[in-house]
């Protein structure tokens, strides 16, 4: 219990709560990070038709399943937000952990996928395509990991009826992570 009023919900110069605005600034900078990386990938991909040989080896089943997993986890995130709005901390906690479960499933599938690919010699050093593949998906996975950790911390607070507005905030971040993957999937897996 802080003896100062929390800034995130109370103060706002823009009409949007500071908490949400902060997350949107983060999302804004992530757009140029991922956007820059993927734009560079698209440029190179268009210029080098030989990459089609390489990209044929990405695992669409793993990628597609992971897309479904992330979509579902986004659903749970928005349901958590909905529960937090009606101050139902039990459900919010449960839904947040379902989202984290989605994250863990995503990472599990990815580790099997990458393990198999690396075992077959498809490493980050193999060619520029694979360098992009592992970098883009890897940076994305790092965001999934960090998001899941933050979500777990927020879930613990939510259980204590603390800082419920953060459920929406982490939800926003999570939806963005989902959107990045929505673009990664066709670029890395479908475009063969």
């Amino acid at each position: 219990m802080s003896f100062q009023r929390p800034m995130a919900t109370e103060r706002s110069a823009t009409g949007i709560s500071t908490c949400k605005l902060g997350v949107y600034w983060v999302i804004g900078s992530e757009i140029v990070i991922f956007g820059g990386l993927l734009a560079a990938y698209v440029m190179f991909r268009l210029a080098h038709g030989s990459w089609a040989h390489e990209s044929a080896h990405t695992n669409v089943v793993a990628g597609g399943t992971n897309t479904l997993v992330l979509l579902t986890s986004s659903l749970f995130a928005v349901l958590a937000h909905q529960a937090a709005e009606r101050k139902d901390t039990e459900s919010a906690f449960k839904f947040l952990w379902c989202t984290i479960g989605g994250a863990l499933t995503f990472l599990l599938i990815k580790s099997f996928e990458w393990g198999g690919e690396i075992h077959h010699g498809l490493t980050i050093h193999k060619s520029l395509f694979w360098a992009f593949y592992y970098t883009a998906a890897g940076i994305h996975a790092a965001h999934v990991i960090c998001g899941a950790i933050i979500m777990a911390i927020i879930a613990a607070d939510v259980k204590k009826h603390k800082d419920l507005q953060r459920v929406e905030a982490i939800g926003l971040y999570w939806h963005f992570v989902d959107i990045v993957w929505i673009f990664l999937f066709p670029l890395l897996y479908i475009a063969k």
Binding site: I16, G35, A47, I179, I182, K192
Partner: protein
């Protein structure tokens, strides 16, 4: 914080539904169907259809997640504008840089990653297993790579040339020579071989002007030019890392740039650089000489490839 009660939307329909669980599940179901379509699209095999289904659907899905899950459709507009301006920045990056990526050369640079050589490396890889890919990686990774066909020197070391009697000019060799010249030689010698390439401004004496008949310190005969390319001369480094085929190609191309056709090799000239003109591959040995450190690198690469593609040199 948005709450259910503040939405008296005039758009009709069930207002509670717009925030209700079933609404979100409906959106999720649509997203799943779209995912299925984007996976099935490529199976039809029509290229534009694949692009539309894969990327068009991705855009639709992203917008749906943004509008419905992130609630951007009821959020203050400024948020959407900020995010849009970030996307515009990315587009500026893309459209600013992409034209250069598509080109082979610019005013101050030449593309060193050779698509044709990479394709050739792919072919070699499919014959020799995945080791060939490592050679292609080596081509990409070396910033000062002066070889456009890195896998070829390994072939050269065992005497296999793509051309029969490469010391004799053919249109094929000249065409190949032009490609090799543009990537390796043009920076100093200039696009027309006049010795006025962008890098020549820093050089003294200036690089050879191939359009002139005079000034060739080691002569204009094919064997002499080959020798110069292979061993370097003054400020010019040795280009022995190029395959002998590529070096001969450049020899013949360079000779077309000026009045040099009269300077021809005798058998003695060829023997001086270790070629026996009576044999198709010149007899093998002496003209396949490469610098020792390059040979050691090649051996390391080949032995790494023998163990596993993963352990190939960086």
């Amino acid at each position: 914080m948005e709450s259910k009660d503040s939405h008296n939307q005039p758009d009709g329909g069930s207002h509670h539904e717009s925030h209700g669980t079933s609404h979100y599940i409906k959106i999720w179901a649509i997203l799943t169907v779209l995912l299925g379509l984007s996976i099935c699209g490529p199976m039809v095999g029509i290229r534009w259809l694949t692009l539309v289904t894969a990327f068009g659907i991705a855009i639709v899905k992203a917008l749906m997640v943004a509008r419905e899950f992130m609630h951007l459709k009821i959020e203050k507009r400024i948020v959407s504008y900020v995010l849009l301006s970030m996307l515009i920045l990315v587009s500026i990056f893309f459209f600013g840089v992409a034209p250069d990526v598509m080109k082979g050369e610019g005013q101050q640079w030449v593309k060193k990653y050779d698509e044709a050589a990479a394709e050739a490396a792919e072919e070699a890889a499919s014959e020799h297993g995945e080791g060939g890919e490592a050679a292609a990686v080596a081509t990409n990774a070396e910033p000062t790579s002066d070889s456009v066909a890195e896998p070829a020197p390994a072939a050269q070391a065992s005497g296999r040339s793509k051309f029969s009697k490469p010391w004799v000019a053919t249109p094929e060799l000249v065409a190949n020579g032009k490609q090799v010249f543009q990537v390796n030689c043009q920076t100093c010698h200039g696009p027309e071989g006049k010795g006025n390439g962008p890098a020549s401004t820093a050089l003294n004496p200036k690089p050879r002007n191939f359009t002139a008949a005079t000034g060739w310190k080691q002569g204009r005969k094919p064997s002499q030019i080959f020798h110069t390319i292979s061993t370097g001369l003054g400020g010019m480094p040795s280009f022995a890392s190029l395959s002998t085929d590529d070096r001969w190609s450049v020899v013949h191309y360079v000779r077309t740039l000026g009045p040099h056709a009269g300077e021809k090799d005798t058998v003695a000239d060829l023997k001086k650089i270790g070629i026996d003109p009576s044999k198709d591959n010149g007899g093998g040995s002496a003209d396949q000489v490469i610098p020792i450190d390059l040979a050691i690198d090649r051996l390391a690469l080949e032995s790494a490839q023998g163990d596993s593609p993963k352990k190939a040199k960086k």
